[in-house]
Amino acid sequence: MESTVEQYVPSDYLPIIIQFAAALGFVIFALVATHLLGPKRKSEVKGAAWESGIESVGDARTPISYKYFMTAILFVLFDVEIIFMYPWAVNFREFGVDGFLQMFVFMGMLLAGFFYVIKKGILKWE
């Protein structure tokens, strides 16, 4: 694919800004338009949170199950580890068997941690 290799300059990244501008433009347009077009009638009942018609009690900003935090924390860890595999995967052929074995060890560690987490019951949602 030599033909695609060209000199990169910062302006090569301009299209992304165009796309961003287009997307942002649409979003802002839509939000402003709906704001201007729609009717506005305020009332207390309408402003209340809609919780299946039941009177809403207290604030929604209550603590939630720690499992969600656990999932988030685990995600951060695993995601970074997975991102590490990307450069390896791209250069997989160059590294050859050695690289494969090294990644094997790496994955072994990752899996060890993974199984530990599973056995600890962090991912049990029942």
């Binding site: 299209p15 796309q19 299946s52 999932t71 997975i82």
Partner: protein, 351 residues
Amino acid sequence: MESVDLIYKAIYILAIFGITLLIATYSTYFERKIAAFIQDRVGPNRAGPLGLLQPLADAGKLFFKEDFIPSKSNKALFIIGPGIAMLVAAMSSAVIPFGDNLIIDGHVVFLQAIEVNIGVLYIFGVVSLGVYGLMIGGWASNNKFSLLGAIRAASQNISYELAMGLSLIAVLMLSGSLSLREIAAQQAGFNWNIWYQPLGFLIFLVCAFAETNRTPFDLPESEAELIGGYHTEYGSMKLGMYLFAEYINIFVASAVMATLYFGAYNFPFMEDLRAAISDPVLANNVVTLVGVAVMFAKIFLFIFFFMWVRWTLPRFRYDQLMKLGWQILIPLAILNILLTGGGILLKDYLF
């Protein structure tokens, strides 16, 4: 980059953006039509012939609804939420090659908004930002159902992102590149990755469903449990943007799957077609345009698949969903990596 190129690029980008919106809009129509078909009904048929104007009517209705903000919510975040969701969804298609290059007036124009050598990472990065949209919206609503929906959405998204990322690694090992265009180009003709990566594709497919919050993974917005999930409190175009974002995500996910596994714009006998036309420029352009058609055909196929599944499969339970994501897909994906690695090495060793 020359300014002419830039103008071509700009036109292309706007075109793709328009097409994206259009497809997203009409996805709703197809969704209902397919649902009707599967359930042996007629579906939308009032607005326009065959109800074809129904999506536009819907969009118009959304625009004219009251732009309502609940009194207890966090106003700024309440508005930003859907904005982010939409923005991110619209950004994600930037690196997808919808076709090969067109030669217009001597200028070579690639049918891809931008070529970066980390295309896969770009998609990943941008798509995972989408979860902020849901999370912010759900939290800002200050409604317990919204919050629960948002959190579910977030944890579901991040969980399946892992398996998705892992399943991609196998593809990257094959391609040796992170550039989507290069990956697409490598699958010239009928040399599609799906032949080498059936398991990887399956995992990716499942993850794609989960990432887009589609049935059977639509727990964040399951009507029966959470009313509407994170967008319970939303109305008018803000709700519209959440829905739009979801359909755009389906479109992008389909495009990515087509690119990564189904050869993107490549089709069998591509070279034969190219050879059949004598003028190289014309040949190139014709092949490219056919390629674009093929690409969109593949995308539509996937979109259809998304809808088909929606009306076929029941919803998961949340624990089943998490179990599937963490305990089945991730090990499977790692297994897939090992198999792929072993296979590649074996092949290099033998030949």
